[in-house]
């Protein structure tokens, strides 16, 4: 080291407001007591709750002809959705449905943030229901906090027990409904009442019920903050033109308490009266005034409660509102903001989504409710006594209608090709059947190697017609 350097002092650089904070890496999470909120977004969340839950609890009870309208019979590998009978081979439709769901999520999130999280996600919906039950029994935020903080009294024990019994009952009903999608729910109901359900049914009723109880009763926002992957990747769909629940800092700051009698102009303060209600209603326990945070599920509770406060104060609504970061920065009017809906990202998502929905819809509409799989025997082709060369195939005929079908089989291929075995088959409703089929050509009429052939299967009325390709092998 040179002597000039040795007496140089290193002066640490600090920014003005920096005073280090320190925290343990792990800490018990404080329980959140969200305050009840009323308003337009709360209303829409309850609409979401009712729609999703009417569908979830109601659907298994619907009848379609002689059977349950929606039933996923895993044992028999038949999936009944209203008029459709699906086979495992129809899995592509589920893939299509999942792709459509994913693209819908992208689209809605790009346009208006975490709409799914705030209004339709089961975690939100069940938490909302469980919190409603909790509120009916234990009271609102302050009452619940007081009850929890207080010593164990008769009242506390009674209220807590009552709450957990209602929660558990609701959870088991939820688990029961879930299993009702896989086992005919009427029989399951009887089995449940007579306590003679199958062991797997018992397992799933209680497992699903327990998951509902744990997630909606205890885990709540922790699921969204620490467990849910969708919550994380939705942030990647955001841009500066995405509608998000935002605090209008320019209008609100400087925040502060003020007497009711002092007008906004006189007070010299912003519109935020620092009443902290937006923090109290937040189901994830954040302060929206700190800006967009990953914990925000976009439920709009803070916007609802703040509008109420603004009304009381006689200030304009919308201090906390759905707006975009660009609109806030540039002070855009609602019209300008809405024009940004037609940005490339949204247009691309929308067109892909509609294309997929149409393709999926049409392919379902045009689907032939019969399937045929052709499996060629691996054995050697045979030469018969009457001078024919034969190949053997096994055909799986799958009836995806709920009527008995009389099917006729024909083969198309090189000249002289014939079906030597039975070509008429009877196929019961929603049943599948394997049949062995012998196909022949006169020996020597075909060149050595592989020849393309087609099996045509149609029913008596010719309303069902399926063609499956295979090959006919001629040995060297």
């Amino acid at each position: 080291m040179s002597p000039q350097n040795s007496d140089r002092k290193v002066i640490p650089i600090h920014t003005a407001d920096e005073s280090p904070s320190s925290a343990f890496l792990y800490a018990a999470t404080p329980k959140i007591y969200p305050r009840t909120v009323q308003g337009v977004f709360a209303y829409w969340r309850w609409v979401g709750v009712f729609i999703t839950q009417l569908v979830f609890y109601g659907l298994p009870w619907l009848e379609w002809g002689q059977r349950q309208a929606v039933l996923f019979d895993l044992g028999a590998r038949r999936f009944y959705v209203l008029g459709l009978v699906l086979y495992p081979q129809d899995f592509i439709y589920l893939t299509g449905l999942l792709v459509v769901s994913a693209l819908s999520l992208f689209l809605f999130t790009a346009v208006a943030g975490r709409l799914w999280c705030g209004y339709a996600c089961p975690q939100t919906v069940y938490s909302e229901i469980f919190m409603y039950i909790e509120r009916q029994i234990e009271g609102d935020r302050s009452a619940r906090m007081k009850l929890d903080a207080g010593a164990y009294s008769l009242e506390k024990i009674v209220k807590k027990t009552y709450k957990h019994i209602v929660w558990l009952g609701f959870s088991i009903w939820t688990g029961f409904t879930f299993v009702g999608y896989f086992t005919p729910i009427h029989e399951l109901g009887m089995a449940f009442l007579q306590t003679r359900m199958g062991s797997w049914e018992v397992f799933w009723v209680f497992f699903y019920g327990f998951a509902t109880y744990g997630n909606a009763g205890f885990m709540r926002e922790q699921v969204c903050k620490f467990m849910c992957p969708y919550a994380r990747f939705q942030s990647a769909m955001f841009d500066h033109d995405t509608l998000i629940v935002t605090y209008d800092q320019q209008r609100g700051e400087p925040r502060g308490h003020r007497p009711h009698s002092v007008s906004l102009a006189e007070s010299g303060l912003g519109a935020c009266i620092d009443c902290n209600l937006c923090v109290q209603v937040c189901p994830t326990g954040i302060d929206i005034r700190q800006g967009l945070q990953y914990e925000c599920i976009g439920c709009g509770a803070c916007a609802d409660v703040c509008n109420g406060v603004m009304d009381k104060m006689g200030y304009a609504r919308g201090l906390v509102r759905y707006t975009t970061q660009n609109a806030l920065r540039h002070g855009w009017s609602t019209t300008t903001l809405l024009k940004r809906f037609f940005r490339p990202r949204v247009v691309v998502y929308t067109s892909i989504l509609w294309t997929l929905i149409l393709v999926l819809g049409f392919s379902l509409m045009l689907r032939t409710p019969m399937r045929v799989d052709v499996v060629k025997d691996r054995g050697m082709p045979r030469i018969t006594q009457n001078g024919n060369l034969e190949n053997v195939y096994r055909l799986q005929l799958m009836n995806a209608t709920e009527e008995l079908q009389q099917l006729h089989l024909q083969v198309r291929g090189p000249e002289g090709m014939n079906i030597e075995s039975e070509a008429n088959f009877e196929l019961g409703p929603a049943l599948s059947r394997w049949v062995a089929v012998r196909v022949s050509v006169p020996y020597g009429s075909l060149s050595e190697g592989s020849h393309k052939i087609w099996f045509d299967i149609e029913n008596e009325t010719q309303t069902l017609r399926v063609t499956e390709a295979s090959v006919f092998l001629v040995p060297r």
Partner: protein
């Protein structure tokens, strides 16, 4: 762990597994005591994409609990089940034993179903639609690979739907063929028959037995040589079921038709094997399967379900 000749690798694996698990716990314990220092606004000071800041929030305690549970689960698993080198676990579990138990359980569950058929004669079982369906599935799983899905066989694999039986088509004989398997043995006869011209003439004589196209002059020359074949195939060429010698006077040619095929067979001989099934199938399964195979050539057809 028979792959290893010594105990070194076994202990190596076991020690690494245990040290790894314990190291996880130590890491958790060390980090739990540490404090992380951030800015006054509870951020780490990391900023990306203009304004995206990282918070300095602690991980919830239940997460630590989950972590400890996985460690406990891991250790209990390694105690109960094989995983630590050559240690077999306190339950001495193995996939082979598990498979055997499941087979026993499945067989026990199926027993009442088969019990009904066991008491019945093969001919009566064949009339039962349920037995027919079971038999068909057994056939598809265990027989169709060689005999074909339609049971009509191919070159080297006998047709089971005709009345031509190498070893007999009675229920008892069919059951015997399935249970114990069969070995068809045609010895090479070149040394006995004579020159290649003799074999060619013999082939034409064999063809004449079934009235197949042949050269009657050559057949006449071949006839004396048939004495060597008659020991098994009979003087009239009608075969002998006791040794599985095929009937040469019908038009069933299991190993190929024509002069060349016959010459090759006389010259080289052939050993053809039907594998025994009694170790793969239970006695009651073989009973039902026998009835299915028997029904293929005895059209007392059961109503197909």
């Amino acid at each position: 762990m028979s792959d290893f000749t010594g105990s070194f690798w076994s202990s190596y694996v076991a020690i690494i597994s245990l040290v790894g698990i314990l190291a996880c716990l130590v890491l958790l314990w060390v980090t739990a005591r540490k404090k992380s220092v951030g800015n006054a606004d509870n951020t780490t000071g990391h900023v990306w994409d203009e304004d995206l800041r990282e918070m300095n929030n602690p991980l919830p305690l239940w997460w630590v609990g989950l972590f400890v549970i996985t460690v406990i689960f891991g250790l209990s698993y390694l105690f109960l089940y094989p995983g630590l080198g050559a240690y077999t676990g306190s339950k001495a579990w193995s996939s082979k034993a598990e498979y055997d138990t499941e087979i026993l359980k499945a067989n026990a569950a199926l027993q009442p179903l088969y019990a009904r058929f066991e008491a019945m004669a093969v001919q009566d079982v064949a009339k039962d639609p349920q037995a027919h369906a079971i038999g068909e599935r057994l056939f598809m799983n265990h027989c169709a690979q060689c005999h074909g899905s339609d049971a009509q066989g191919s070159k080297g694999y006998p047709n089971l739907t005709d009345s031509d039986w190498l070893h007999g088509g009675t229920p008892e004989k069919i059951k015997e063929s399935i249970s114990l398997g069969r070995v068809g043995n045609m010895p090479p006869m070149a040394a006995v028959v004579g020159t290649s011209d003799d074999m060619r003439n013999l082939a034409h004589y064999v063809l004449s037995l079934s009235g197949s196209p042949h050269d009657s002059l050559k057949a006449g020359f071949g006839k004396p040589h048939f004495g060597a074949c008659a020991a098994c195939h009979g003087v009239d060429g009608k075969g002998m079921m006791a040794v599985g010698a095929p009937n040469l006077s019908d038009k069933v040619w299991l190993h190929g038709w024509g002069e060349e095929a016959i010459v090759a067979m006389v010259h080289k001989g052939k050993q053809n094997i039907m594998p025994a099934q009694q170790d793969r199938l239970s006695a009651s399964q073989i009973h039902v399967l026998t009835s299915y195979v028997w029904s293929l050539s005895n059209h007392t057809h059961a109503a197909t379900p």
